[in-house]
Amino acid sequence: MQRFAALYAALDAERGTEAKLAALTAYLGDATIAEEDRAWALWLLMGQRLKRLVAPTLLRRWIGEFCALPAALVEESYAQVGDLAETLALLAVAHREPPPATALPALSAVVAELQGLAGAGETVQRAALFHWWRHWPGPALFLLGKLLTGALRVGVSAGLAARALARLAALPTETLQHRLMGEWRPGAGVLSQLLAAERGARASPAQPYPFYLASPLEEGPDGLGDPADWQLEWKWDGIRGQLIRREGQTFLWSRGEELLNGRFPEIEAAAAALPDGTVLDGEILAWAGAGPLPFARLQTRIQRRAPGRRALAEAPVRFLAYDLLEHAGEDWRERPLQARRAQLEQLGWPHCSERLAVRDWAEAAALREQARARGVEGLMLKQHQSPYRAGRRRGAWWKWKLAPMTVDAVLVYAQAGHGRRSTLYTDYTLALWEGEQLVPVAKAYSGLTDEELAELDRWIRRHTLEKFGPVRRVAPAQVFEIAFEGLQASPRHKAGLALRFPRIARWRRDKPAAEADRLETLRQGLAGAVTAASAAVASPSAAGAGASGGSASSESSSALDSE
């Protein structure tokens, strides 16, 4: 635990990637630390978390009891610090007793002890925590709290971890990236397996390939050369997935490396017909007729394991394939997209993402304008000759998304942020007018500069009307332009609708609150979007058909755009 705490402190203190990489490489290569501890450290630093052992509310209650502090003071402290693990550590150290003579246990021993606590009753859990709080130093307590409450998040991405391992193993980073994919659990020998020069069979038939991610196309496609060199597809608004059929088994992975088996039985059923040794890259979408259903419909399926008949009927899901990564057990990622795509179409998979034919970029632009009406996010541009790379690499795969919709909303509630933004009021609830009332429509966490955040924080503190725990209601005076990707009906929200990916585009200091937008505007937009989407479903959508109507720019966007 001491060594791990020291590594964590080093990673936390260093801001440069190179320095983080050096610290991580040194730790992972340090043979004086047990291999299992290093494997656990790697797994945890990459953001994996232990199954939740103790409810945060219990932790807050117990630290209050441990420090003899009233609950309200624990809450005030937590609101100020913004991180439960750190709050626990900061509060506990005041009551620390001289540590026992023995050193802190090793990381893997701590993990084992925590896992042993999972089934234990509250009395045992509380006693264990009190022991740690009484004897451990602050930095170790902070990490312990992190293990109990969530992920570590200290800037160690999968890419950085792969680079560190690649340095130690003297292997290409992409090889290690692949080895780190999917589900692996720390244990004896795991690290040496990751670092082994040669690995015959893959660790498991379930192991996915790293996803190739497209980069946003900011400037438009004119600099991309001849459109004939590019494959165009819609940019679908679903869940990016990888469908694996190997050794008679099916595995469906999300881009977040979550195994989705059991949630989409219709996809798994279809995959049974795929030949062994096939891996597809594609999009999971709820679909009806000729077009996708809004993301909100897919959402009803995401968390549902073994969905019932009704769920299956209301949001039927399909896997729209757009790439072939493995064929007949062979890794095809180095072959050009054109060849992969041709082979994909030979496979007989029922749903492939259509290729859109355009003669020039103007036609592509016209197609993109139809995106909102079709329920998609824009266009994907992929070079015919491109191999399937790992991670986000600029140059050969671009996403050309529609410009977001915007609306001007009033700040009504603020809450302190977390992590880097703890102690600052940075989480905002924004509202639109309905009659004389402001109705919340979105929460936004980002989009302002650090200077603006600090300024707004000061303003919030001086214009608080009411406090509810960590939330402050503020005077309705500040107007923000909110950008968002789409609208969906939502009975759960007071406004009856929800914005997709809302973020702050601009602080409208020029605008008085009374001139912010009305909720009605969004409701019309929602109606418009729904009409447009059903229209798109009704129209035939074949590869060529897209080129026809560039004028059908979505009604919702023009109605909502405040500019």
Binding site: P70, S77, V81, T87, L90, V93, R420, T423, L424, A454
Partner: protein, 361 residues
């Protein structure tokens, strides 16, 4: 009975004595606790401050107004009120104001701390009925490490920078914190008992006149030189520089590259503040009372009534009520310690910080 001290538009006011304490708008009679900008403002008719704080107050408000210097504990009559100043241990000359009217005693703490500080007279407990306390760090998560340990950490960091051929730029408040750091560094000993360092430290222009006032008050500090007096191609690598937080990220910094930055403040006790402030290192050092000191001080005054002001007043009110004291927050415009301020914050304590508790440190 009537309140002895009440908040008004101009600041804290004593009706029985017809004077204000640390007023923020112009008034005829101003009793000043200490020379930080949010407490000592120019434009008042006449000033009273501690003798120890006279030079700093004068430097702050200029020569336009009269100042009467008071010795510690020596009472002075304002109408029906008896007023005396008592050391607060915050910065050189910082005072608490004791006001007695008809046998009822009120104390306005101003900013204060209980940790040892070689640059000012230590805090004196003044028994009272009503205690108006600052609450900048009024939450149990704030407790300061030993100042010597922090000073040692800073020295180690300076040496690390030197070993790597970098300039060590340490940001801190120009009045109080800078001088305390210079004194603490000078007081560090090596294994043989000699001074751990006697090296010259370089000062941002905003600090030089203030350091001079401390030297004239007889405070022992490391030798200093103004940055501006150095030749054009001076080799800055391995040197320690002190600068106010506002200088961070300005073109002034360019000449010191390659450099590392640090920030010495109580806010650095919390990781989120450290990360947001975007300095390479955060050192926990404050001239305000931490949570244990606040509680201890409240107990020691024996006050029955507590009126916390500026900072995390609510937590203190909560705690005090649990102890059976009468307590409510008092709204003032003092700023406490400038927070984990963003680099654009003013060169000195001008406006409140990112944390909204900003101002003088």
């Amino acid at each position: 009975m009537n309140d002895c001290i009440v908040p008004t538009e101009q600041g804290l006011y004593c009706p029985a004595g017809d004077f204000h304490i640390d007023p923020w708008r112009p008034v005829p009679r101003a009793v000043i606790t200490h020379a930080h900008a949010d407490h000592a403002r120019s434009g008042h008719g006449h000033y009273w401050c501690s003798r120890e704080g006279l030079a700093l107050t004068r430097a702050r408000i200029g020569y336009g107004a009269g100042i009467t210097a008071l010795d510690w504990g020596k009472p002075l009559r304002f109408g029906a009120a008896e007023v005396s100043l008592h050391p607060a241990g915050h910065v050189l000359g910082s005072a608490q104001v004791r006001v007695a009217v008809d046998g009822e005693v009120w104390v306005v703490s101003g900013d204060y701390k209980r940790d040892p500080d070689p640059t000012c007279t230590p805090f004196e407990v003044v028994p009272c009925d009503t205690f108006i306390t600052e609450a900048t760090f009024g939450l149990p998560v704030y407790r300061w490490p030993d100042t010597r340990d922090t000073a040692r950490e800073i020295l180690d960091w300076w040496r690390e920078c030197k070993a790597q051929g970098q300039t060590a730029v340490l940001f801190c408040y120009a009045l109080g914190k800078a001088q305390r750091l210079l004194a603490e560094l000078a007081a560090l000993r090596d294994e043989s008992g000699g001074p751990a360092t006697t090296e010259t430290v370089y000062l941002h222009g905003a600090m030089t006149p203030l350091v001079k006032i401390y030297r004239e008050a007889g405070i022992a500090m490391l030798p200093t030189e103004p940055v501006g007096n150095q030749p054009r191609f001076f080799d800055w690598r391995g040197r320690l520089l002190l600068a106010p937080p506002g200088a961070s990220g300005t073109p002034w910094m360019k000449r010191f590259a390659p450099y590392r930055t640090g920030f010495a403040s109580g806010w650095m006790a919390v990781r989120g503040s450290r990360r947001r402030a975007a300095y390479d290192r955060g050192f926990v050092l404050s001239d305000h009372a931490d949570w244990p000191s606040l509680l201890r001080t409240i107990r020691e005054t024996g006050a029955r009534r507590l009126l916390p002001t500026h900072g995390n007043t609510e937590a203190l009110v909560l705690w005090a009520r649990e102890q059976g004291l009468e307590a409510r927050p008092l709204k003032t415009e003092y700023e406490g310690e400038q927070g984990s301020a963003s680099p654009v914050e003013a060169v000195e304590e001008r406006d409140s910080p990112a944390d909204g508790r900003g101002g003088a440190g």
